[in-house]
Symmetry: C2
Subunit: 340 residues, 2 copies
């Protein structure tokens, strides 16, 4: 394959054949079918779990600092994170892509490689897609999971008294974006490396999601794609409930603080409103907290209780100075169409 | 809802809520879940059947003559047609869309209405999606079907001696495009109405696909999206087989001939290379032709044997003058990235 071949040179079918060969994966089970027919055939145990996302160059990412493999990795992780938030097991994915005819095949190949690198450890195979011409690079991924014998965890279900629990350290992605917007560091180390990594190649918490759902302790779950505060807002949208968070319990490490300080970011704002971390945010029944902790022991990202579900609407945050601030007074998360 | 509200005014969540309310559908079965969580939950009997497509304004459609509801209808039909070509039963769909922030909500609402109008008769529900900002209207639909207890029909499987059978009259869509490219007629009647309808709001042959697969007579199937010749090429790609078509048996009606003549199109070329008709092209075992005919009786589109699968590679067409011409000598189908 010449390094300078474009999509136009390769042709639609030639390109698809390359992708099928290199990333198409093989059937897990008899009767399954991947790329090459009108549709793919997949066996899902229990219910099928489905989610789709679209990323547009300029809106969702900039090729100034995303390498194509990173872009693919991150896009697939974002979708995998949606399966994680249901406690579903990953099965397969489909990729629809629009690209300019002059787009180098190598660039697109790296993009698919990145997706494959995020998907393979989760046992997901690329089973289908579409490749079309478009002026702007646009990527739409659909992921398929299965509930198996387990029970999926929904966004609704949190009860007053439940603990609000988060995996890892949300906010790193925001710090990474802040760092990268001033140009990509050549050989980042320390907090810079962590921030860059967490923004460019975040790892979805699919193992943690399955374990959390399997513990039977989690009453509601969502992934942190918009930010801790906006996503917590989704968990308490129904049933007249709310939440109270305590900043003293936030998992904000020393490197996180150093990063925020060096970048002129408020660490609390980064944690609460950063978004795109693909951590998991859950409500956990306090009576089953022990079972939950045991289930989460294998995972180095850690889990932390950062607050409690309350019996009246609204999210409130107890600040370091002792004041309690309504969530709306905190910095807003990223809103796709708003001006804010 | 004000008629002049834009996506920017409505906001991402406001728009999604409108779509969920109007087109989100309800769960068919206990344990299913539609729009509103991290992922959708769907019960598929047998294997899950999955296909995804992407349409980009300017590449795949022009808003000069497509009304938004028609665009939605056609896009969904194209995907439904992929399920039809497997003999799968439709279950659900997901829609990822990129639109400019200034895009009127009414326009997008009509687009979703069109999708719903194509999907509802097939029992499909909108269960999820994504709405993002992008300069060009871009639509990515993923459809989910189920094999049930039946056996899906693949592209591979045709055997020498099988009859090549097609539903309906492929080529109308091409004639419609030809008509519309000179401006949309105000109140089309006769062949003009048929041509416009078949290009703008084609109905996918999902009922026919299920019946054909259920007859046990169909050894291979594909939908006519690229054109009869290119898609027949896919059916004979493997196993060293080919096909021989006879133009004398083509289902070319008098209105089709009138349309082609008035539009300066060759009716044979329109039939063989038109594409985007979403008819079904099959190989049918001659021994089971009776069972096949019985299974297809309920469908007014009709089925027609137009040729035979042969035991050597290549597709050949017997012309009205008695000459036999290789398929490659016929006009090429639409190629996404090529210059041809």
């Amino acid at each position: 394959m010449s390094p300078h071949r474009s999509l136009r040179d390769a042709g639609e079918f030639g390109f698809i054949e390359t992708i099928r060969r290199d990333f198409g994966g093989t059937a897990r089970q008899p009767g399954e079918l991947g790329i090459g027919d009108d549709a793919a055939l997949v066996r899902c145990r229990g219910r099928s779990v489905l989610s789709t996302d679209m990323l547009v160059e300029g809106t969702h990412f900039s090729l100034d600092y995303f390498r194509p493999a990173e872009l693919g990795f991150r896009a697939l992780s974002a979708n995998l994170s949606d399966l994680a938030a249901m406690g579903a097991a990953p099965v397969a994915y489909l990729v629809a892509i629009a690209a300019p005819p002059g787009c180098p095949v190598d660039f697109l190949h790296a993009l698919y490689r990145g997706m494959s690198e995020a998907a393979s450890p989760a046992g997901m195979r690329l089973v289908g897609g579409d490749t079309v011409r478009g002026e702007r690079l646009t990527l739409s991924i659909t992921v398929v999971g299965e509930t198996g014998a387990g029970k999926p965890v929904l966004r609704t279900g949190a009860k007053p008294g439940d603990l609000v629990v988060v995996t890892g350290e949300p906010g790193w992605s925001r710090l990474g974006l802040s760092l990268l917007s001033n140009g990509r560091p050549a050989k980042p180390s320390g907090w810079r490396r962590e921030a860059v990594r967490r923004h460019l190649v975040p790892v979805a918490r699919w193992r943690e999601g399955i374990a959390a759902a399997g513990s039977g302790a989690v009453t509601a779950m969502i992934d942190v794609s918009d930010g801790v505060l906006p996503d917590l807002g989704h968990l308490v949208e129904q049933g007249g409930i709310g939440a109270r968070l305590d900043t003293a319990s936030f998992p904000i490490s020393k490197p996180f603080r150093s990063a925020a300080s060096a970048l002129g970011e408020d660490p609390l704002a980064a944690f609460l409103s950063g978004g795109e971390d693909y951590e998991l945010l859950m409500a956990v029944s306090p009576k089953k907290m022990d079972a939950f902790r045991v289930a989460m022991t294998p995972f180095p990202c850690g889990v932390r209780a950062i607050g409690t579900i309350t019996d009246s609407p609204g999210v409130f945050v107890r600040m370091p100075d002792g004041r309690t601030v309504p969530g709306e007074a905190m910095p807003p998360g990223f809103r796709h169409f708003g001006s804010g």
